[in-house]
């Protein structure tokens, strides 16, 4: 047990006062219910990113990752880690966001619906993606938000009208209630043929 708990001691800084390390560890395991090695691996990644060594990550720490800088969605992904209004994320928050990308286990599918839905369910995965589109958090992807995302993905060579027509076409295909925006339900419906469980899962987090 000591071997288990030792590396997590420095996490104490990120804990709320009443919690013990043990509870912290268990809560992470509950989200994950996977091996201890995965947690330690991610923890070592967390610490390697944490240059300030204060047990939390700031936005600059994320931006130091070179591949994220060239990723069109880099900023939005980084923002997704930070809860509302905060500038620091601790290990629990880090893991919480990553928990969305755990592959769905078969035995979980038959779990009863009484408990809270696990973070890596299909619906929650899609919700995570939806939140990345929907910056103003009005539960709709408006034309402008879609245009922004398209512009980021496509680059600078394409004219505004062309992007505009693509955006219009996209909204038109998906929109069923006629409000010229894509709501979460419509988003889910459009992606029903895409294998989201496989696409939004990272294998090593198995």
């Amino acid at each position: 047990m000591l071997l288990v708990v030792y590396p997590l001691r420095s996490l104490r800084k990120g804990l709320c006062r009443r919690e013990t390390i043990w509870q912290y560890y268990i809560s992470i395991l509950n989200w994950w219910s996977v091996s201890h090695s995965q947690i330690t691996r991610l923890y070592s990644r967390f610490t390697s990113l944490d240059k300030g060594e204060n047990g939390t990550l700031s936005r600059e720490d994320f931006q130091r990752i070179p591949e994220l800088a060239i990723n069109p969605l880099g900023d939005r992904i980084i923002n997704a880690f930070f809860p509302e209004g905060e500038d620091q994320v601790n290990f629990r928050g880090f893991m919480r966001t990553l928990a969305h990308f755990r592959p769905i286990e078969d035995n979980e599918k038959s779990k009863d619906q009484n408990g809270p839905e696990p973070l890596n369910s299909r619906s929650n995965k899609l919700h995570f993606a939806f939140r990345l589109y929907d910056l103003d958090k009005d539960d709709k992807i408006s034309r402008d938000e879609l245009l922004q995302v398209l512009r980021m993905m496509v680059g600078v060579n394409i004219s505004d009208e062309q992007l505009g027509s693509i955006a219009d076409r996209t909204i038109q295909e998906a929109d069923q209630d006629g409000d010229s925006a894509i709501s979460f339900a419509e988003f889910v419906k459009v992606l029903e043929k895409v294998d989201v469980e496989q696409k939004m899962s990272i294998r090593f987090l198995h």
Partner: protein, 805 residues
């Protein structure tokens, strides 16, 4: 129709009967009835497929002018004078092409026939029916007294197999293939190895126990036999799986396995064939064999990639000779196959690799017509090849020498099935540890059941030579039995089983733009998450490959502007093009779905302000006059014969116009700004003949004048023919120093185009719609297009109310 063809065939044969040789006539050096063991007949001068020996004697009898070589020497000057033959028959002259064509025709007629009788084809897969037809034809030929042709390995490997593989490789669904590549490779390599050794070993045991008839068959011979029969056959898999419309995952798993196991089969085959000649097999030989597997497979892929890159590079320069573009694709792929076969590398993998590599670049470079041509030629050839293969399998069954040994054959069959099932089960258990989406038992059953054997096994067996493998006939019999069993029994029952087990079927719908955008979005998201985790996974490498591709490769291999086109835009263009073509084909100006009209023409946001329309003022009878002249001109241009040039493709006005439309959006704003200087029609007036005809025809108020005296444009309507005397110049009533527009003679092919003062060179982005988005002229055009027909004229100057969405 199939029945008719069947009835016709014996008549055809009977007609040729008198021309066919009787026994004892002088041998034609060109003919061999069965290939000498181990020696492929020379092609194409040699006999094709072991056709019945040609009639050398008959034409010599009939052709009086031909000298008889046997007795020509002394008789030359004593030959009696014969009458000049008005009608003669010379069969040898056309024999080979004639017979080939006859066989291909038979194959096609059979295919036709099956679809005329739908009830049979829904139960029995086509491959079974074709084998039965082959059996019948073979029996018929034998009954007539001739020797039916056997499917020779050379013909099979060099001519019949490549089209099928190229078709499969060129249209391989790359996304699913790469996502499941690990699984496919494990099934292909480990599965085939397991099958070969398991089967070979067990058959050796059976042979040892099988009594005097089988005792002499050594271990190596059995292993060779095992390696021949263990490979899942892509032709058979394609033939059966295409009809059952199974979901894409299973399809790509079984099909990918059948393609990639070719390398294993080639290596094992050559290995055991060589080893059968050795007295002793050392460790070194085994290591070399192991090494050769990598050489064969990776070498094959390398050859394919090289040819693919060369083909992509060539296609970059074909913009002026569009007619031969498809030929480049076919030739380079075929050369890749032949080059790989030259070095005993895996030809199939070379073919697949070249198709996969060249496709994205070639498709960006070639015209739409060439793309269609490639698609249809590949489908046509592969279809005909497949039919021929199955028919020949049937015929060869009748024709070949068989040696039936109950023990051997039955045990082969049994062990094949057992080996397959065991292999799939064990491998799936192993693979499922690494897969995110696991393979369910249902999937495993279909994978095991779909392991069909086919003509490749037969041809490989046929290639064995008698000297080293005396039991070749027995092998062939066993192979044919297994093939028949898998194709007939498994092929026929797989469809009801799929329905019974409620296996997921293929989803027929096309990919929507939403899916494309969101999938790319998710790709970026997952790449970012992987980078945060520090995990170099699937997405990371895919992203790196895409970046490399965009930065370096696309610039080299794609011509012109399109090298910078992002994937999303390319997809969008393709989608729009498809819709436009469908739209035009359905003949419906009035049938435009609102999606197309909203987006394809331009951005419509009905709430924003209308932009000024600049149109000439015309009175009603002038309009009528214009319309009459236009009608006559348009008709004339259609009937005018262009000078015939075989090498130029007449540009499709719809495609050209649509391309122009799509490409012309950017300069709208610029041209509008220049409008005042040039006093010309704003560039958004340039549009396709379709649209202009639509506008003229359906909406009489298309030229609703706008009271703006400064910007009166000039419309010069220039019908395509520069020689036509009736080009019309419409000058507006109050020219204010406007200069006329010179009709530009180059753009011949456009039916009706209105020119701007600044004619744009083809290929630059000219304008179709204004950038600011909502000129009522465009709205009007939109309304014209959605207008079902001419309507009674409302009052002048009043804009139409846009129709509801």
């Amino acid at each position: 129709m199939g029945a008719a063809a069947l009835r016709a065939l014996p008549w055809a044969l009977l007609l040729l009967g008198p021309l066919l040789p009787r026994q004892g006539l002088q041998a034609n050096p060109m003919v061999t009835s069965e290939p000498s063991p181990g020696q492929p007949a020379p092609l194409p001068a040699g006999e094709i497929g072991g056709f019945p020996p040609a009639p050398p004697a008959a034409p010599e009898v009939i052709h009086p002018l031909k000298e008889q070589p046997a007795n020509g020497s002394g008789e030359g000057h004593h030959k009696p004078r014969k009458a000049f033959p008005v009608l003669g028959i010379d069969y040898t002259h056309v024999r080979i092409p004639f017979e080939i064509s006859l066989w291909i025709l038979l194959a096609c007629l059979m295919k036709l026939g099956f679809h005329v009788i739908p009830s049979v084809s829904s139960i029995v897969p086509e491959s079974c029916l074709l084998i039965v037809v082959g059996l019948l034809v073979g029996g018929l030929i034998k009954g007539v007294g001739e020797k039916p042709p056997i499917l020779k390995s050379d013909i099979f490997f060099l001519f019949l197999l490549p089209p099928i593989i190229l078709d499969a490789g060129y249209f391989l669904p790359l996304r699913q293939f790469t996502e499941n590549l690990g699984t496919i490779l494990i099934f292909a390599v480990v599965g085939t190895l397991w099958n070969a050794f398991f089967l070979g070993g067990l058959m050796y045991a059976v042979c040892q126990l099988g009594g005097p008839g089988l005792n002499h068959i050594g271990l190596l011979a059995n292993l060779l036999f095992g390696s021949i029969i263990s490979a899942v056959d892509p032709v058979a898999v394609l033939a059966v799986f295409e009809e059952i419309h199974i979901n894409e995952l299973l399809h790509i798993l079984v099909f990918g396995e059948s393609l990639l196991n070719d390398a294993v089969t080639v290596v094992l085959y050559h290995l055991f064939e060589e080893f059968a000649n050795f007295e002793q097999v050392t460790i070194l030989d085994i290591i070399l064999g192991f090494l050769s597997f990598f050489v064969v497979s990776l070498g094959g892929v390398l050859v394919g990639v090289i040819y693919g890159v060369i083909a992509a590079f060539t296609s970059r320069f074909t913009s002026h000779i569009r007619v031969i573009e498809p030929l480049f694709v076919f030739l380079y792929s075929y050369m890749a196959y032949l080059s790989a076969e030259l070095f005993h590398l895996s030809g199939i993998m070379a073919l697949i690799a070249s198709g996969v590599v060249m496709r994205p670049y070639v498709e960006a470079n070639i015209s739409h017509k060439s793309h269609t041509t490639i698609k249809y030629f590949l489908k046509m050839w592969s279809s005909v090849s497949e039919t021929l293969i199955f028919i020949f399998l049937g015929v060869s069954t009748v024709a070949g020498h068989h040696y039936w040994n109950w023990t051997f054959v039955i045990s082969t069959l049994l062990f094949c099935l057992i080996a397959r099932v065991l292999g799939v089960l064990v491998l799936t258990w192993f693979i499922n540890k690494f897969r995110i989406v696991k393979l369910t038992p249902k999937d495993q059953f279909i994978i095991a059941y779909g392991g069909l054997r086919g003509a490749i096994a037969f041809s490989l067996g046929y290639l064995l030579d008698y000297k080293h493998f005396g039991m070749r006939d027995m092998f062939l019999t066993a192979i044919i039995t297994v093939i028949f069993f898998t194709v007939f029994v498994q092929g026929m029952t797989i469809r009801p089983l799929v329905d019974l087990l409620a296996v997921k079927k293929k989803q027929e719908t096309k990919r929507s733009i939403n899916e494309e955008i969101h999938t790319q979005f998710l790709d970026h998201l997952l790449t970012g998450i992987e980078d945060i985790c520090g995990h170099y996974g699937h997405h990371h490498w895919k992203d790196k490959l895409n970046r490399f591709n965009k930065k370096y490769v696309k610039k080299c291999l794609i011509a012109g502007e399109r090298s910078k086109e992002p994937q999303l835009i390319a997809f969008y263009h393709k989608m729009e093009m498809k819709q436009a073509i469908e739209l035009v084909e359905s003949g419906g100006i009035g049938k435009i779905p609102s999606a197309v009209s909203t987006v394809s023409i331009q951005n419509i946001n009905p709430k924003s302000l209308p932009v000024e329309r600049i149109l000439p003022a015309l009175s009603k009878d002038k309009e009528e006059e214009i319309r009459k002249i236009l009608r006559n001109n348009l008709q004339k241009t259609r009937q005018r014969l262009r000078s015939y040039n075989r090498h130029t493709l007449v540009a499709d006005p719809y495609e050209e116009a649509w391309n122009q439309m799509l490409l012309r959006r950017q300069k709208a704003r610029q041209l509008e700004q220049k409008m005042n200087n040039y006093l010309t029609v704003p560039a958004h007036r340039l549009d396709s003949p379709t649209m202009s005809r639509a506008r003229i025809g359906s909406d009489p108020l298309a030229y609703e004048p706008k009271a703006d005296s400064e910007n009166l444009p000039i419309i010069t309507i220039d019908p395509a023919s520069p020689q036509s005397p009736e080009s019309v110049d419409l000058m507006n009533e109050e020219p204010k120093g406007c200069s006329g527009l010179p009709p530009s003679p180059e753009e011949d092919e456009e039916g009706l185009v209105m020119r701007v003062k600044e004619p744009s060179s083809p290929g630059t982005d000219d304008v179709f719609t204004p950038g600011t988005g909502d000129s009522p002229s465009n709205q009007r055009m939109l309304r014209c297009l959605s207008d079902p027909g001419p309507r009674p004229e409302p009052e002048e100057g009043e804009p139409f109310i846009p129709k509801g969405q």
